[in-house]
Structure formats: C-alpha cells, structure tokens
Amino acid sequence: MKMPGARIVLECLKREGVDIIFGLPGGAVLPIYDALYDFQGLRHILVRQEAAAGHAAEGYARTSGKVGVCLVTSGPAATNLVTALQDAYMDSMPIVAFTGQVPTHLIGNDAFQEADNVGITRPCTKHNFLVKDGKDLGPTIREAFHIASTGRPGPVHVDLPKDVLVKEWELVWPEKVHLRSYNPTYDGHPGQVKRAAKLLVRAKKPVLYVGGGVISADASAELYELAELTQIPVTQTLMGLGSFPMAHPLSLDMLGMHGSYYANMAVHHSDVLIAVGARFDDRVTGRVDAFAPNAEIVHIDIDPSSISKNIKVDVPIVGDCKRVLAKLLEAVREELREEPSAAVREGRRAWAEQLAQWKRDFPFRYEWSDEVVKPQYVVQEISNVTGGEAFIVTGVGQHQMWAAQYYRFKHPRMWCTSGGLGTMGYGLPTAMGVQAANPGKLVINIDGDGSFAMNSQELATCFTEGLPVKTVIINNSGHGMVRQWQRIIYKERYCAIDLPGIPDWVKLAEAYGCVGLRVTKPSELVPAIEKMISTPAPVVLDVCVDKDECVFPMVPAGVLGRCQPSTYNRVRLRPAPPSGLAWLVIWPGTRRSLSASSRSSLAGF
C-alpha cells in the first residue's frame, strides 16, 4: 500500500518503538504534522525552541535507555538544533533527529529556510542522512536507529526534503539492518581481559575510574560486583555519576578538576588504573604526562578511537563495558583461586588505610553560615530530602559542580548533565525529556541563574504538556563560574558577570503558569524543598545564595606541576600533599594565592 512519505516516517517511528517525539513544526515538516494529526500511538511534545527538543530527547534517552527522537523544520530550526546534536555527540547520547528540508529540486537554490543541514551536522553527529528518494525512508530510519543505539551511542540526523514527505511511496521495512562498514566490537579480546585480570589482582594500589560508558552499557551491576569482589575503590567521572553508589565505602566520588581530593590523590598514586567507559577527558587528566604517572592503565571502551587518544594505555580492551566486565569478573575469580602474595596483601591494606585517611581528612567541605544560604547546602538538602531517589538534571556552571559533589548518587540513569560540551541552558529542556520518559517520578533540575535563563521559555512547555519538573535555581546573581575564574586567575578583574536580580524568577514562573517559591535564609530551605516536592505543578524554587562562594577543590590539574604545590595551599591544606604531586589544590580559604606566572599558565585552560 502506498502512503505519503510523512506517514511512512511515523509508521517507521512506531515500529522502532518510539512513543514520544519532541518537536516544533515549520514549513518543511508540515506534511509530518499533517500526518500526526490523526496518527495513533505517538505523543508529540511541543517545545518552544528547537535546541530544547534535542536536549529533551537526550534526557529521554539517558533515563529510559531508549533512543530519543526530535523533529524540527529546515533552516533556522536545524541550525538551532546543532547545539543539542553536538552535546549528544560529546556525551554519547542515542538520539535520532529529524529535520525538514526544502524540496529536492530546490536544494542548493538558496530557497526560503534552506540550509545545508547535512553539511552542518556532519561533524556533530555520529552519522547523518539526506533522504532523496522515498523508497529509502524505511531503510534509512532503520539504519539511523541502529547506528544511534549500538556501539558507542550517539546522535544521528535524518534530513527530509518536503517533496519526499508529500509524495506517496511503498513502505520498505527491512527486518534486519546490516551495514558492512559498521560492526562495533562488543566482546573484549580474551587475552587482554586475562592480562587485565592478572594486573588487577597483583596491584597494590588499584583504582577503578569509571565513566558514562558504564551507564550507557547498563554495566553498573557488573561494576559493583567487581569492586566488591576485588575491594578496589571506584571513582566516577561527571558523566559516570550514579554508576556506583556513593554511600558505598569503596566510593571515592568524582575525580577531576572539581573532583574530590581523595579521588585525585588515589588516581595520582595508583599503580594500576582501570578505566571503564571513560575517555580521559582533559577535565579529568589535566596535564597528561603528569596523570597517574606510576600506573599501568587498563582501558575498557567500546570506541577504539578513545583508546590511547590522550593517554597511552597499557592494556587496551575494545568492547562493551557490560560484557567485558562480566568476562573480567570470571578471569579475576580464576586468578583469585591462588592466594595473593603477602606483599600484595600488605600493599592493599596500606592503600585502603591511606584512602580512608584522605577521605577522613579532606572531605568536600564549605563554611557554614546562618545568615546566607550556601549553595552546597542547597544540594545537600535536596540530596537528604530525596534520599538520592530523584532524577537530577543540571545546567552548566558552579551549581553543576556542586550538584556533582554534594548529591549522594545511588542509581544509574538518574543523572543528566552536559559533561562534554558544557551547554548552558541544558537543564530545563533535558528535565522535560526525563519527566516525559518517567511520568509520576520526581525530576529536579538544579540550575544556575545564568544557565536557567538560556532556556527558561521551556517553562511554557512544562506547563502546557503537564511535565511537573522542579527547578531549583542556585541564584548567585551572576555567572558564578566565570566569576570564580576571574577571581582566582584574572586578579579579580570582574568583567561581564553580573546578572543583578532580574528577572524575578518567582514572577516569571507564575507568568508561565508554574509555581514560584523563594528562599533567602538557610532556615527556610528545607520546608521550601518539601513544599516544592509536594506541589503537583512545575515549580521554580529561587534560592538566593552566597555569590562569593567558589567551587573547591579546584584542581587545574598538572598545569602547575613545575611549581611547588605547598606554596599555594599553605592556608588550609595541612598536611601539604606529598611532593611530586603534580596538582595544585586550591582549597577553601585560599584566596590571593597565585603568582603571575601561574595565573598565565592557568589561563590557557
């Protein structure tokens, strides 16, 4: 039976198991919206700006484990979507994005609302397609979902010219997708797995360094089992948060620039580092030649190009984290039949003691105030009140780091943040996607005033689509992270960072039909959070916090390796870190502490 291309698109989406599309109509995709008018079984969520559709699809994908779908029109809509595509690409989020395109005979003619969509999205998608022939619609959509969700997940873009959507075609639906040029490796090399197992059981100072790949592969259970079995401590990247419960004694929390002191120290002093689904991002490693200098590194990743990209790896294992960890568990059990040597046992005992001491002596901390709300306190209380059982989404900036530091993560797939691209404005639209995928669940968007302002129009979507997202604005009346850098590195020459108290977020929330709440004193916080959670509508909780607060520790890792760290952390950091540590640790209270030369070398980051 022949049907219009637009209808074929919707049929294909249904067959792929799609239940929700985030989108915004326009000229070139009108045929799809016409087909949607009486199409059963697909919910369309109308966003207010196209990037929001992309971010919502990301949130949907991350928390549901399915492919997120967004649909926008040609030209400006497609270019608006680019930010979300690059964001999804860097954070390996499986989404399929459809854009409209001018009719095929007008392509290249500078037609109205025309842009070279596939040309623009080529470097920011895993793959993209321009469908010029209706016969290809089914196979292309099938391939798009296959590519997005397999291997290292990522965004796939499908560009749909209007005439292809209007004309009638036979629906072609291949049962299986076979791409001769695309065959991801899932099973790790058995020899390498064995080598890794041997390293692991003989290590005296091992650390597991786990990233978002563990979550994408649903490998948290295997990771937990491995950590328990071997008693190896686990540190998580920003993207990996939730893959290992933070309450567990083996958890070292987050590592990297704003990671915990103990995680960074542990990685630096480790003799075997097992990276699982992480990519040695510069925010984790800093200066690469000073990163984990004494460690033999095992790297498990499904993307071969991630391996030995930044850091030379000793035991590369290309494969799916879940399958490789399962095999590794077997191999480790095999190795453990033989009792580890006394030296190893003694080494491990000393290591555990050392880690416990670092954890005890240098926890995340901030100075309490009775007068003004400390931003860290806000996150702490959200964590306490929700018991770590809420879906947490963030924007980008200081609040994002505080959320990562102070929220006690329990479960995978309950945390969404823009890790790779650092997209401000990510919070609210992503939270919408999370809420749409998880109706009835508590979704909290911890946002900053600067970040929230970039997509606050989506409150309208929350209201009209019945998505009761709770937003907590950590409001420091400015671009806090920029302020922090200008303060520490640019001699307090503050420039273009003030957002002086406008808009009034409570009024804005009310203008969008949402509930607005405000907190200015620490004592008001917990009742306000409780009220926010018990309100069935979307809520904006504006918390006015201490604008001078900085995210600490701040480890501009390695850049200052040639300086003596102790010069900089005299104020609070006692005992001083062992010499040879390549990090500068800026601790609370360290204010005017950088020399001109170190400032300039920091500025590069």
């Binding site: 040309g119 321009l130 001769r180 690469v288």
Partner: protein, 191 residues
C-alpha cells in the same frame, strides 16, 4: 603523549561506500582534528558500490593511529589499511606542458624517453608529456624540463597498492578487462 618515532609520510588506503558526502566526511575528519592531507585520490573499485581513496598523511605514530581509528569510526568507511610499512607499489601520474622551441625539441623527447614518459599532445611550440612514477621521479623530470619553460603541470596525487598475492578487497565478479601490459596507452609502470 610520548611517541615511538618522529613524523613521516604514510600512505593509507581507504575503502569507502560510494555515496555522496563520503569525501566530505573524510576531508572533514582531517580538518576537524587539524591533520593535513598531502594528497588524496579517489576512484571506483571493481565493485561499483565501493570507492578507494589513497591518502598521503604526514604524522608520528600517535597521529597516524588516531587517523586510522577516526577513519574507521566513520560509518561509511569499510576498511582502512596503512600501506607504508607493507611491501607496496605507489604511483602518481603527471601531465606537463612544456615549451618546445626547435632547438629543444630533441632534448625534450630524449628526456621523456629516459623517464618513459609519453607525448600526448604536440604543437609547433609545445609538448605535453604524460609521466608516471613515484614522487621523486616526477620531481626529477620537472627539474629537467624547467629550463625549457614549463607552461602548466598537473599531478593526480598518489595511488598505491600492496604487492604480492594478498587479497585486500573482496573478490567481485567483474567483466574481463585487458591486462595492464596489454593496454598500449599505459606506459611506464615497469621502472
């Protein structure tokens, strides 16, 4: 990152799907990561749905490893082989139009003969020569012709193939073609 060896030229053969946009994907990969392509040539293979690209890239081990991995990562790339350290033959074709005044015509023909180049166009005042060989040979020919005055010159970029019987491409049934040596238009393959 520490490297085993310094930068050198690598010849990389890439089999890709013969679809629009593939060249742009490959070129984009290089520009996005700041790698430089020295030469690139593309052509159809025995299987018309597959094209073969020959890339010449300069880089150390680390860069080349990333280049090959990133190429592999492109969905339309079927196979990547770095021919540099394998036994292989590489050739480039050059067309060169040179001034041919009466007093130089003999010398140009002699030079062409030495280089097994072929005259493909003649006018009273110029010769156009077709020459194949590796980069060194072509450069030597240009140097010898330079004093006569080179009007225009064009080179294809390098193509390369592994020596011996190793099968690198899927066997595809194709119409029987004349062997290269039977083709009178092709000269200069035997050094």
């Amino acid at each position: 990152m520490q490297n085993g060896s310094g930068p050198r030229k690598h010849t990389i053969a890439v089999l890709v799907e013969n679809k629009f946009g593939v060249l742009s994907r490959v070129a984009g990969l290089f520009s996005a990561r700041g790698y430089n392509i020295e030469s690139l040539s593309v052509g159809e293979t025995l299987d018309p749905s597959v094209s073969r690209m020959t890339l010449v890239v300069t880089g150390d081990e680390f860069v080349i490893e990333q280049v090959t991995k990133q190429l592999h990562k492109l969905i339309d790339v079927i196979k990547v082989s770095d021919l540099t350290d394998d036994d292989h033959v590489e050739r480039e074709l050059m067309l060169i139009r040179v001034n041919a005044e009466p007093q130089h015509r003999e010398e140009i023909l002699r030079t062409a003969d030495i280089f097994r180049a072929k005259v493909v166009d003649v006018t009273p005042v110029s010769f156009t020569l077709e020459a194949t060989g590796d980069a060194g040979k072509l450069e030597a020919l240009v140097e010898l012709l330079r004093p006569m005055g080179v009007q225009e010159l064009v080179r294809t970029g390098k193509v390369a193939i592994a020596r011996g019987s190793k099968v690198r491409v899927r066997k595809v049934d194709a119409p029987k073609k004349a062997r290269v040596s039977d083709d009178p238009k092709v000269v200069g393959f035997a050094d």
